[in-house]
């Protein structure tokens, strides 16, 4: 079956998110664990900056959960760059067993889902799942040089600088992973690369439909339903498509791409990129789950699975969406007292300095700095 239900074994210990300056100024700014001031992160190239961002996110998530790098069994993740280099190079620095994935912007839920399956079946104890994107490196790979004076079409989206990672563990915590639905690749014949929201909306619709049917739930049972990066136009299309299937998406629905930026910023339809759902999940959604504001959340990350070559050859854009269902569990005193899972106040988490890539060995020695 498309939906895999967990046997109540997989939990999210904690999540860590880190974003660039533009995202930090947005409405979710206060939820992010760390906002970088300079999006080059003092690296020479944007690809190196993306790598460093991901490295800091992964180590940040491990530190925040009170674990050590040696406690982690696998690092599961991916990114948008060709041959998912950012994740591979980060795995090289982390010296962790690495499972690299690619489903474009849906990588976060895909890696989270796979981590949950491994942990749930006692194949691993702790897994770190994460991804990130960088606006400038994505722009030079997928679109035009940064200095070119071109106008972006009104339907285009802005790849976010940032990302997030979370620790999936069999240690009980407040957030339980209930089920995961891996989506089908769906193509409704949209060929415009500047209108990804429209290309991905049918996939999101199909995955949500399948998840609700297989879980035998209703859309009203969820406190919050989030899609990854459909953007303004894409989420409007999704609402229409769902209505066609007699499912009404109400006020409990939001799109991460629309949430992350201020309306005044020139980002057109909103944010996109693998880091979009990753950073919103690991900041806003997890924090609301941890304090019990949300009881049941469905996150549907969406991805557009085209490449620059296929789109130049005129192929249409296939979309994919993976859904993951998270649930709040009331803390059981005895089990959780030894594990620090509570959200740190903002002032302390803000102090986590981005570490240098070269400092790998020293960070593994540096234990519980954050606990």
């Amino acid at each position: 079956m498309q939906t895999i239900k967990m046997k109540n074994n997989a939990y999210i210990l904690n999540g860590f998110s880190m974003v660039g300056p533009l995202e930090g100024k947005g409405p979710l700014g206060e939820y992010f664990d760390y906002v970088v001031k300079d999006d080059t992160l003092k690296e020479k190239t944007f690809e190196k900056a993306e790598r460093k961002l991901l490295y800091n996110i992964i180590t940040g998530a491990i530190d925040k959960s009170g674990l050590k790098t040696t406690d982690i069994d696998f690092f599961i993740g991916g990114d948008l760059l060709n041959q998912i280099v950012s994740s591979s190079y980060t795995a090289r620095e982390l010296e962790l067993p690495f499972i690299g994935l690619y489903s474009a912007c849906a990588t976060m839920t895909e890696s989270l889902g796979l981590s949950a399956i491994l942990v749930d079946n006692n194949l691993a104890n702790n897994i770190v799942a994460g991804t990130c994107t960088h606006f400038s490196s994505a722009e030079r790979q997928y679109r035009f040089p940064l200095e070119l004076g071109n106008q972006r079409p009104p339907t285009s989206q802005w790849t976010i600088t940032g990302g997030g990672a979370c620790i999936v563990s069999n240690i009980p915590s407040k957030i339980k992973i209930t089920a995961v639905t891996f989506g089908k690749v769906i193509d409704f014949g949209i060929a415009d690369v500047n209108n990804m929201g429209a290309a991905m909306a049918p996939a999101a619709c199909d995955t949500i439909k399948a998840h609700i049917k297989n879980m035998n739930t209703d859309i009203k049972d969820y406190d919050f339903i989030a899609t990854g990066d459909l953007g303004k136009l894409g989420s409007e299309i999704l609402i229409d498509l769902m209505e066609h299937e007699n499912i009404i998406l109400n006020k409990n629905y939001a799109d991460c791409g629309c949430m992350i930026y201020d309306k005044t910023e020139r980002v057109f339809m909103g944010g996109s990129g693998a880091g979009c759902s990753a950073s919103v999940l690991n900041s806003y959604i997890l924090k609301k789950l941890l304090n019990g504001e949300f009881k049941r959340v469905l996150l549907v990350s969406t991805g557009a699975l085209m490449s620059t070559t296929t789109s130049q050859q005129g192929d249409t854009i296939p979309g994919i969406a993976h859904a993951i269902e998270l649930e709040y569990v009331a803390p059981q005193q005895k089990k959780t007292c030894s594990i620090p899972t509570s959200v740190k106040p903002k002032s302390t988490t803000k102090k986590i300095k981005p570490k240098d890539n070269k400092a790998t060995k020293s960070t593994s020695k540096r234990r519980k700095t954050n606990v």
Partner: protein, 125 residues
């Protein structure tokens, strides 16, 4: 020498050509490279039909600064060289006429690429 009318007409004609191009951009989602090529070819056609010269006489820089001027000078160079040198002129004429602009674009780009590094786009303004 400095005639204010030259500036007004350059501004109006140059602006109008860009205005037409912007209509195309909005209507057809045409990319930078395609729109440059399209107007280059328009310039060549104007030159072949001897429309460009009187147009430039009228519009001054409004005709020579847009890329149609570049196309026209390529075409004019080829036609003149063909008349002067025969068959070989077909191949040498175009680039000879446009060599100044191309050489400067390559040279300046190379030099400034060595000096400057790319910066991220400013989205928040």
């Amino acid at each position: 020498m400095f005639n204010i009318w030259d500036y007004v007409i350059s501004f109006l004609v140059g602006g109008f050509i860009c205005f037409l191009a912007q209509i195309l951009v909005i209507r057809t989602k045409i990319t930078t490279a395609r729109i440059l090529v399209l107007f280059l070819i328009i310039g060549m056609v104007l030159e072949v039909f001897n429309i460009y010269a009187p147009f430039k006489e009228f519009a001054k820089a409004g005709a020579s600064v847009p890329i149609i001027g570049f196309g026209a000078s390529l075409a004019r160079g080829a036609i003149m060289a063909t008349k002067e040198y025969g068959l070989i002129g077909i191949f040498t004429g175009g680039l000879t006429a446009a060599s100044g602009g191309i050489a400067m674009a390559i040279f300046a780009s190379f030099i400034f690429a060595l000096i400057f590094s790319s910066k991220t786009k400013r989205g928040g303004h």
